[in-house]
């Protein structure tokens, strides 16, 4: 009896957590289901009947294909730049003791503590004053690298903190140059962190609306396309494309986690691991 009574709060808490998870997933289920809807009227908000049309012709809505293409291009290029610059910054911050490290740490944190409207409005003020580059692809790219940088630095940094420096010292002891040490030891070991930072940057870039909205000029990305459509017509095709992006990023994420596990296993291999040291033959 007491065991059951003691268990009661456990059930309650687990059930509550389960409900919270359902709350998180409910809108995603709605999007998935409504990508198969054949809506009445211009808005895909009410269920009418099952249809595969949107999945068969995902780009049937005029303009959506170009918007998606622009979004992917910007996401890929801004991810590459932000990941490269952010990784270097993170290396400097974790590996070296230098004057001004604490203020730099704080400075990199500030963009994260700044509302997106402010980031977007400030950057637009600058571009308007400069008069160039013309608002469009280039300015969106600059903006995306800017807001992704802090996220990359923080992600890679958290990975570097748990890094075993003895491995690098070993490489140098064995005669590797600093560059060889970086390329053959450091980089492979921090690669999982760099990959998850890149994935995060890609997801943030392809999803960004607010900052892009300020700095896009007449260029249309996928989120900007949805924003424009939200006032006129929301076709189920938009849900289909959202589902595709969703499935792609989740697949990439699972791949990254898997890769991370493998790297962790590799990194934990030490000469003192029992299975690597030959057991003395008995007798």
């Amino acid at each position: 009896m007491t065991a059951i009574r003691r268990r009661a709060p456990d059930w309650l808490l687990n059930g509550y957590a389960g409900l919270a998870l359902i709350y998180l997933l409910l809108p995603i289920a709605v999007i998935l289901v409504f990508s198969f809807n054949d809506p009445v009227g211009r808005f895909n908000f009410l269920w009418n009947e099952f249809s595969l049309d949107a999945w068969k012709h995902p780009f049937a809505v005029p303009g959506v294909q170009d918007a998606l293409k622009t979004s992917i291009e910007i996401a890929v290029v801004s991810t590459l730049i932000a990941t490269a610059l952010g990784t270097l910054t993170a290396l400097a911050l974790v590996r070296y003791e230098f004057r001004g490290r604490a203020p730099v740490n704080f400075f990199i944190f500030i963009p994260l503590a700044t509302p997106e409207v402010v980031l977007g409005a400030a950057l637009l003020s600058q571009f308007l004053n400069w008069g160039s580059p013309a608002l469009g692809f280039a300015t969106i790219l600059i903006a995306h690298v800017m807001f992704n940088l802090s996220f990359v630095v923080i992600t890679v940094r958290s990975r570097l903190i748990g890094f075993d420096r003895a491995l690098e010292e070993a490489a140098q002891d064995l005669g590797a140059t600093p560059w060889e040490t970086f390329r053959l030891v450091t980089l492979p070991l921090i690669m999982p962190g760099v990959l998850s930072a890149a994935l995060l940057a890609f997801a943030l870039s392809i999803d960004d609306f607010v900052i892009t909205n300020f700095n896009s000029g007449s260029t249309i990305t996928f989120p900007l396309f949805i924003w424009g459509a939200a006032r006129v017509a929301i076709a189920p095709q938009i849900y289909v494309i959202a589902t595709m992006i969703f499935l792609f990023t989740v697949a990439m994420m699972i791949l990254t986690v898997w890769q991370q596990r493998r790297a962790e296993k590799m990194a934990s291999v030490r000469p003192d691991d029992a299975d690597l040291v030959a057991e003395p033959a008995p007798g």
Binding site: L13, A17, A20, L21, Y23, L24, L25, L26, P27, I28, I31, F34, L46, L88, T89, A92, L93, V94, R95, Y96, E97, F98, V104, N105, P111, A113, T114, P115, E116, V117, V118, L119, A121, A122, L123, L124, S125, Q126, L128, N129, V145, M146, L149, S150, V153, R157, S158, A203, D207, F209, N213, F214, P223, I226, A230, A242, I245, M253, I254, V257
Partner: protein, 291 residues
């Protein structure tokens, strides 16, 4: 000693590109926006000229005090609800997740992989007048017969809460997961009841996560304008809506810039107060770096 010199300058060389980008496209724009906020003139004809018009700030506050207050009310409410939903979930994942821990964490961040605007639009379906939520609440008598959820404060706050909930859960989880279980056992060994151990050991130890989570939820929530626009009406408009329309629709740059600065300044004050309470190390996540 060229080697030593190189070694000393290396961290700065590594920093240069990333930090340079942030200085040029984050810090410098703030200067331009500051100058913009002190200009006067009109978007038609002459444009704006710098006249150190400090009254832009007082005017902006006077004209949009309602939206400012509303932003903080909505963001505060959404942060509180997100905490009430998020803490138990983070607790269960951290202490009872077992081998399902990573899978559950994946489910927490999965909403991020759906385009923000679409996530918000799907709440339009969930809360629609003929939807299951409204009809259920009507049959329970919680919502009156002609009542609705869409285009009300409820739908806007619900949307904000939903969109920023993962920002609350992840830091909470990170700090709960780090708690040394021996400390909890010590609490039980000293005859603490579950409740006592939670209030006096678990919760205080998870404070860095609480601070980071509330901040990461509150900041984007207070600046948000998408939820108010898509799930509300002008009666629910927040300060973000004003900045967006002043800047991009009405081209009234000085007012928009002044409002942006007021928003940013109030955020920084909140961050600094929190940092005082929690300590910057916890806030910036810089514990355990090379000393």
């Amino acid at each position: 000693m060229p080697g030593a010199l190189r070694k000393r300058s290396l961290p700065y060389l590594l920093l240069l590109p990333g930090l340079g980008w942030l200085l040029l496209f984050f810090a410098l724009p703030l200067v331009y926006m500051l100058l913009e906020s002190l200009k006067s003139g009109s978007p038609f004809g002459g444009g704006f000229t710098l006249t150190w018009e400090f009254s832009n700030y007082t005017d902006a506050l006077k004209d949009y005090d309602k939206q400012f207050i509303r932003s903080y009310e909505y963001a505060g409410l959404a942060t509180l609800i997100a905490f009430l939903i998020g803490y138990p979930l983070a607790y269960v994942i951290a202490f009872r997740g077992g081998k399902w821990r990573n899978a559950m964490l994946l489910l927490v961040i999965v909403p991020f992989f759906v385009t923000y605007l679409i996530r918000t639009l799907s709440w339009e379906t969930i809360l629609s007048d003929s939807g299951i939520v409204v009809s259920t609440l009507k049959s329970l008598g919680i919502v009156s017969e002609d009542g609705r959820l869409l285009d009300t404060t409820v739908s806007v706050v619900a949307g904000i809460t939903y969109n920023f909930l993962p920002f609350m859960i992840l830091p909470l989880y990170a700090s709960l997961e780090r708690i040394d279980h021996r400390l909890l056992e010590a609490g039980y060994d000293l005859y603490g009841r579950r409740r006592d151990v939670f209030w006096r050991v678990t919760l205080p130890l998870s404070m860095p996560g609480v601070v980071a989570g509330t901040l990461l939820t509150f900041i984007p929530a207070a600046g948000d304008f998408i939820n108010a626009q898509l799930l509300g009406t002008p009666k629910q408009y927040m300060i973000g809506n004003v900045i967006q329309s002043r800047f991009l629709v009405l081209n009234d740059y000085p007012t928009a810039a002044a409002l942006s600065f007021l928003l940013m300044a109030s955020m920084l004050i909140i961050v600094l107060i929190w940092a005082r309470i929690a300590g910057t190390e916890a806030l910036l996540g810089t514990e355990g770096e090379a000393r």
